[in-house]
Amino acid sequence: MGFGRLAAMRHGLAQVAELDFPVVGTLTLDSYTRVGDHVTPLERLAAGEEVNGYPLVSYTAEETRELLRGLEGPTFPVQVRHGTALPLPVFRSLVAAGLDATEGGPVSYCLPYSRLPLTEAVDAWAESCRFLAGETEFGHIESFGGCLLGQLCPPSLLVAVSVLEGCFFRQHGLRHMSLSYAQGTLAAQDRGAIRALRTLAAAHLGDVTWHVVLYTYMGLFPRTPDGATGLIRDSARLARDTGCERIIVKTVSEAWQIPTVSENLEALRLAAAEAAVPSDLGAEPDDGYYAEVLEEASLLVDCVLDLDPDVGTALVKAFSRGLLDIPFCLHPDNRGAATTLIDDRGALVWGARGRLPLPGPAHGTEPARLRSDQLHNMLNHVVNRYDKHGAMVSG
């Protein structure tokens, strides 16, 4: 949740803090700050316009401390969400304001969100991680690797990038982290993928504390209230069924505009209520998906870590060789030879694998061969399903 004006931001956080279930406050930064423009946000606000988040770096540390006074604390942690490929100014500002939790990663905040070379993002994130680890006792970063372009990415790549970014954070001194995963198109596949994420994280991040955070679907969102509510509810069930320690929810107005405070509160209440309902045991088995995602994600992680003892260098080499390749990502450092399809089961699968070190044919649906209407249908797969069936969709 992010608002440009101090009073609006404080009001929003205060409302969230008053909820009667465990909740994490978020300071989501605006998209000028994301690209390192710290002048325009205050100019636009002064001109009477709104900006789409909180310009943490533009405000003074004292202004942010004042904003958080009496709200942020052990029972109401506040995480800074920013989307910045070069995060040091954001990290400095959040530490100066007394905060210690943020999110992102050298890959997950560069390739999908920036046009900066991956090598620059890797160097900047390495420095920023060391800064946070040095300046705070419990500095925490959540890898955004489980989201990438927000939709249409096979789960094994999401899992692999989350774990690899966790290895990167660990190498640069952080001891507290979380690994993300974004709800996909099929609950059984998501459950298998989250189990695989835990298995792989236990193998590679055994000496740091970590937890899993689930994101409600990050792609195009249902436009009907019933459809949006059904999707949010299913994400809460997914979090419950997979033991996710934290969930980041969307609101019913996601398809339309930046949500209001009350819409945010409503979404938090909805998710908390749903997560409290006992799990139904009739869910479709996810063992097949678990094995499939674990095999692919393990191959990707092992292949990358074998490239270089330095995780950042290994990540850069992997992308330049196409051993990691985010489907449809336009960043110049992404090879762009891999594609995703939604299969008959409704699961996300590889179309073309490009040079990814995975079993299966390299050539499926080449990126250029996919028509706009096919892409449009896949982008709207979840929208259509939930808007047609509303809240009855599940499992």
Binding site: R34, R44, R371, H376
Partner: protein
């Protein structure tokens, strides 16, 4: 118009969204366009350089992060200052609330955009615009004027009032 037409696909500097650009590239290509896709968070300087190097038949600005209005103003002003004249259209979610669409469209048309595509029918209208532009040239488009040619318009009686 030369076939295929050359298009330059960009977004505004603050906008990191990518799917709109991936999708629009395919739409443009399927309509016979050659696409140079400059990708997310396109810096104004990079758009100016690309237009200067090889003026496109159409500049397409797509933004969905709610800051498109401001970015579109800045971009057009920069093109003007460089003396670069090119038919340009803009679309997506240009402010943080859909209710602003009418005013935003009026402002951007007045500023010099050839057409503005927002709301539910944005893609259908963009496809119509591309079909028109391919045969008549993009700069011949008249926003707000009847899209339907007079000979295609439904017949109706003309009532005159004294």
């Amino acid at each position: 118009m030369r076939q295929p037409f050359r298009s330059l696909l960009v977004t505004v500097e603050s906008d990191s969204h990518m799917w709109n650009l991936v999708y629009l590239q395919k739409v443009l290509e399927e309509n016979g366009g050659q696409v140079r896709n400059l990708g997310a968070c396109t810096p104004v300087a990079e758009v100016l350089r690309a237009v200067g190097e090889e003026p496109p038949d159409l500049l397409v600005v797509s933004s969905v992060n709610g800051h498109g209005l401001h970015g579109a103003r800045v971009l057009l002003q920069a093109l003007r200052e460089q003396g670069l004249e090119v038919p340009c259209v803009v679309g997506g979610k240009l402010t943080t609330a859909e209710s602003n669409n009418g005013a935003v469209r009026a402002e951007l048309l007045l500023l010099g955009y050839t057409e503005v595509f927002t709301g539910d029918d944005a893609i259908a209208r963009f496809q119509d615009f591309l079909r028109f532009g391919k045969s008549e040239g993009f700069s011949a488009w008249q926003a707000d004027a009847a899209v339907v040619a007079p000979w295609d318009a439904p017949t109706r009686s003309i009532v005159e009032v004294y």
